[in-house]
């Protein structure tokens, strides 16, 4: 690779340097391809395709930061440049930043709605996107702050959180069943209908008691910093897990 001046010189051939640079890139001759791209950019600094070519070369060389800079330059020259958006999406995907990859591909799909390769890439990215982190409910873990107990105040499984033992869990189950009985009685006599749940708050904890069935209830203990609505949502999901646990156990 010595001199590509003839290719760059004539406008009659269009931007032939782009084709040459792309062929060199595909052959793996990255330095030569970069020389062609940079020479072209020297003459046509506002040509988005030239920045795109240089970015693809840099990406192939594993130089992600310069590649990103070049693709951003392409977008400055031509907002909505599909090649640049796809390139940025590719790098984001490679970096496991699925949200950014999806955003770039959505922008590309808007610019080129009939490009099936973009839609396929979008599907792939979305399929690779991990589900939002879900709270896990481990009933058999005494430190999880989940305590399942029966109507007689006997602990079925679980505990009341870190730093507490079985004795404390058993004592809590005994007292909590009394609290449940009182809540059932109060709601019935006051005409409020069937008891569903009870929450009490202390300066250090928020505690929810949820009715599972006539024979069992679940206590969910969370720090006082837990928003009240989140406690209720969390308790509701934990109750589903507890009902399944009871179903298996009986």
């Amino acid at each position: 690779m010595t001199d590509h001046t003839p290719i760059l010189s004539g406008t009659s051939q269009g931007f032939a340097f782009l084709d040459l640079g792309e062929r060199l890139r595909q052959r793996g001759q990255f330095e030569a391809a970069a020389t062609v791209a940079l020479a072209g950019l020297g003459r046509y600094p506002a040509l988005a395709d030239a920045h795109d070519l240089l970015a693809r070369i840099r990406a192939d060389q594993g130089e992600d930061a310069p590649a990103i800079s070049s693709w951003r330059a392409a977008l400055e020259c031509h907002p909505g440049h599909v090649g640049a958006l796809k390139g940025l999406a590719f790098l984001a995907f490679r970096a496991r930043d699925m949200a950014a990859a999806e955003a770039h591909l959505e922008a590309a799909a808007t610019a080129a709605p009939h490009d099936t390769t973009i839609l396929a890439a979008l599907d792939r990215v979305r399929a690779s996107t991990p589900a939002p982190a879900m709270e896990s409910f481990r009933l058999d873990d005494p430190t999880s702050g989940l305590l399942l107990f029966d109507a007689q105040g006997m602990r079925l499984t679980g505990g009341v959180g870190p730093g507490t033992g079985e004795q404390q869990a058993d004592g809590t189950a005994a007292e909590a069943s009394g609290l449940v009985r009182e809540a059932v009685r109060a709601t019935r006599f006051l005409g409020l209908g069937a008891w569903k749940q009870l929450v009490f708050e202390t300066p250090v904890a928020r505690v929810a008691l949820v009715a599972l069935d006539i024979d069992a209830s679940l206590l969910v203990c969370r720090p006082a910093s837990t928003p009240p609505g989140r406690l209720l949502a969390s308790s509701s999901r934990a109750a589903e897990v507890a009902r399944a646990w009871l179903g298996h156990s009986r």
């Binding site: 007292e175 009182e182 109060a186 709601t187 008891w195 708050e201 300066p203």
Partner: protein, 117 residues
């Protein structure tokens, strides 16, 4: 606070949509200190049951190794019983139907319980 001021406070609570009654109860003995209720609600019963639930919540919190409850909220199909601690042994209690604006009630009870303290 005077009795008249307490009753004014309770009327603020019953002004919230879905609140059927509000009272100040002595949790030690379940007696009504002041009340504001719609017709048909037996406030002495509400006070007695509220005091009993609060007492049980205290015992449960103690068994857990936690400090004393400052709020107790019982939810049933047709309504709620919501209690917030004021100056020992007083609690501010509201009884509601199922349509209550719970977030607003929660905030107001919290604000008024400070006054009660």
């Amino acid at each position: 606070m005077t009795m008249r001021q307490w009753e004014g406070t309770l009327r603020e609570i019953t002004g919230i949509h879905g609140v059927r009654g509000a009272l100040i109860v002595s949790a030690d003995d379940g007696l009504v200190v002041a009340e504001s209720a719609m017709e048909g609600l037996a406030m002495p019963d509400v006070a007695a049951f509220a005091a009993s639930v609060i007492s049980r919540a205290h015992r449960t919190a103690a068994a857990m190794g936690s400090s004393a409850p400052t709020r107790v909220h019982v939810t049933a199909d047709g309504g709620t019983l919501y209690a917030v601690a004021g100056a020992e042994p007083l609690w501010l209690v509201a009884i509601t139907d199922a349509t209550v604006e719970l977030g607003r009630l929660r905030l107001l009870l919290g604000d008024l319980a400070v006054v009660l303290a």
